[in-house]
Amino acid sequence: MKEESPFTYRDALQFGLIAGILVIFISLVGMVVAFNERYIVAQTITLGQIIVFLPPLTLGYYGARRAKGRQGSKGLLMSLLLGLVAGAVVAGFVILGTSVNLRTVFINAAPKLFDVLTFGRESAAAAALWAIAGGGLLAVLGGVFTLLSSWLRRALVMAITSVVLIGILQELLNITFGSRNWFKPVNEFFFEQKGLSWTGAIVIFVVTVLISVWRTFYGDRPAKAMSRMSPQSQRSIQIGSLVLGGIILLLVPRFLGPYPSEILTTVGIYIIMGLGLNIVVGYAGLLDLGYVAFFAIGAYTMGILTTVGKLSTMEWSFWLALPAAVLLALMAGIILGIPVLKMRGDYLAIVTLGFGEIIRIVVLSDWLKPSIGGAQGILQIPKAHIGGYEFKGPEQVYYLVLFGIALVAFVAWRLRDARLGRAWKAVREDEDVAEAMGIHLVNTKLMAFATGAAFAGLSGAIFAAKLGSIFPHSFNLIVSINVLSLIIVGGIGSLPGVVAGAFILVGMPELLREFADYRMLMYGALLVVMMLVKPEGFVPEATHQREFHEDEEEIEADSLAAETS
């Protein structure tokens, strides 16, 4: 981040206002009340309360951190000031909301909301005082975090996060393991009817702290121990852990059951697409906003070639249609690639965006309705088979997806470090120079488009066989945007980043289904926060990580220098 100016009282005021407004905002959009149904710790704290606490807490932390640069003690004072301001803003909102009926404009400003915000306090004055005091307290608490040494801070943040996460997961765990024998005692120990039990929460907290502390101080031991071993045993350990990882991955659906497997297959389909778009955007730097088109082409090819419904044509098997779907998507990638080769940046984005829409509209059109079903889509797409084994439900499709991911990830990984991957990166960095270095721009870009499109085609084909029927509305612009977002959140150009991004942006919302209304809001907020705090993504490529945390150099100045001589 750039050089920070000293933190003044004005900044504290500003931060406080922001925190207060954030609380009001999440209240008015209804998140607080909706999330208040979910208890994290039984009868003690709800998810709604946590998201109310979050703004003063985090801004208190950041305020104190910035103020600390000058004087140690000043940080907490700033936090306090900031928190009091935030509390006052919320207090004002509570007083206004309880005395005037805001519901005509803000439907969520219901009495229930104010119950949550005031923690059940009746009189407005008491509630206001509570809010101010609470804001101050929370912000100071945030500020105190700056005083802790980093290992302790990390441990505490991890512990709180895992308590909240496990609290959120309660329902899913119940669905998944409810029928298992071993689950009952575990469940009774950790959970109450709604939320974690106190003992459960404390155990999770303590265990996480211990793990985190161990990792900070002794985390490098396994690596060190390994580096002392001979190359052969190092290699066999690597292979061993790979095999172990593979076995775990293979056993996952058996262990988890249908619902989590369903989520995993959805995530997996996005991972395949993400890996493909990562080649186009992350490696070659070609911003493609119409990526869903290739996904649709893959899905429709699979649908048309295999369906046994009223649109049936070939009635091929899944395995015969799969290469056809991939090949057709690949060709579509080349066909799209050719006209847009000369375009860069924004222009390319707009044209590809248009291409995505064209495909969607063509699919919807009456013109092709006799062959691809228009808005009614294609029904009765048979499931994939191997011999007698049918990829019927999510637990079986999981393996299909896993196979797809393994294949695609392998290809992406090999290409990344090869001559072609370097050429892509060179084109991303500076097209003109890449060309002057002997890189054939047309071929190189087309390879990126084609590879990316083929991956999407594979993903689409699996998607069609998984659902058994496909409809045009599954291939909206939003899919392209989701895929692009997950690459960015994970860390652009990074393979593990794609996986992380897919789990965060596709998996998490599935777990919070009841809050689907706020999905897009959280998405947006997450992206904005990410870009400010961790622009390189959650699991960045090694080089990118350095790039963002190095002080910015005078690249700007360099590129501005006139070309004339």
């Binding site: 290809v411 090869a418 072609l420 370097r422 060309e435 002997g438 360099d558």
Partner: protein
């Protein structure tokens, strides 16, 4: 024998003539310098010869084959490589990756070779990596293989750019103001280095340079451009005393004064 011949080349941008009816001939293994005031058309000449601009008229011939109308990447394969006045490295690639990209036209692995990691690909990668390390050492960059290009100091970036250009095994190397922004000791180091390039690698060098000491010290032949026209050509000594050159650089007054002094 001439390796590169520029024959009556004119390049116009709309109404502006950047290079006008220019002819030069560069001998094999020579260091040939092009000098001239800002806007004289020197970089335009580079861009024409490397295929970025298409000449309006005239011909550019490398080893007997015309380069006019060829794409930049084809010209690079034919054996012309260049550096840039304002360094244009692949900033977010490491030093060794930059050099490997330079080696791109001398490699052949494609999509399938990469995915299946064929013996040919493996062999090629290994050789390329060895060569890249060698080149980094040659230009005096040791132990920075894995450093991002943008994080290298200025002088090292200049050297890295030359290493990248050399990686394509060029016959002809275009250097666009290689000593720009360097202090006197760095400049003399670079001057020596350029000479060494020609002497040890046998590469022909076309040099654009503003620093007269550098030009006079290492050039075999110098052309002076002014407003896109060649106003003089000759050895360093001839150029130093040419009144038209002095006029172009320092103005008419200076030229007459110089003549008076000479007389």
């Amino acid at each position: 024998m001439a390796i590169l011949e520029v024959i009556n080349v004119t390049k116009q941008f709309g109404g502006l003539t950047a290079v006008s009816d220019l002819s030069i001939s560069i001998a094999d293994k020579a260091i040939y310098s092009v000098i001239g005031p800002n806007g004289a058309g020197k970089t335009t000449l580079f861009n024409c010869a490397t295929g970025f601009y298409r000449v309006t008229s005239g011909d550019i011939v490398l080893d007997g084959d015309s380069l006019v109308g060829l794409r930049p990447d084809v010209i690079a394969r034919r054996g012309i490589s260049r550096t840039y006045q304002n360094i244009r490295l692949f900033q977010n690639l490491t030093a060794v990756e930059n050099v490997l990209v330079g080696h791109h036209p001398r490699m052949s692995a494609g999509w399938f070779g990469a995915v299946f990691n064929t013996p040919h690909t493996r062999q090629e990668e290994k050789e390329a990596l060895g060569k890249a390390r060698e080149l980094l050492q040659f230009v005096g960059l040791n132990g920075v293989d894995k450093e991002l290009a943008k994080n290298l100091p200025y002088g090292a970036q200049r050297r890295l750019e030359i290493a990248r250009a050399l990686a394509s095994e060029p016959k002809l190397l275009f250097l666009d103001e290689p000593t720009a922004g360097m202090n006197p000791s760095e400049t003399s180091g670079m001057t020596e280095f350029i000479k060494q390039l020609r002497d040890t690698l046998g590469i022909t060098i076309l040099l654009i340079e503003h620093d007269m000491r550098v030009v006079m010290q290492i050039s075999d032949l110098i052309s002076v451009l002014d407003y896109g026209k060649k106003i003089a050509e000759g050895t360093p000594d001839e150029i130093r005393n040419n009144p038209r050159v002095i006029e172009a650089y320092l103005g008419r007054g200076a030229a007459t004064q110089h003549e008076a002094q000479a007389a």
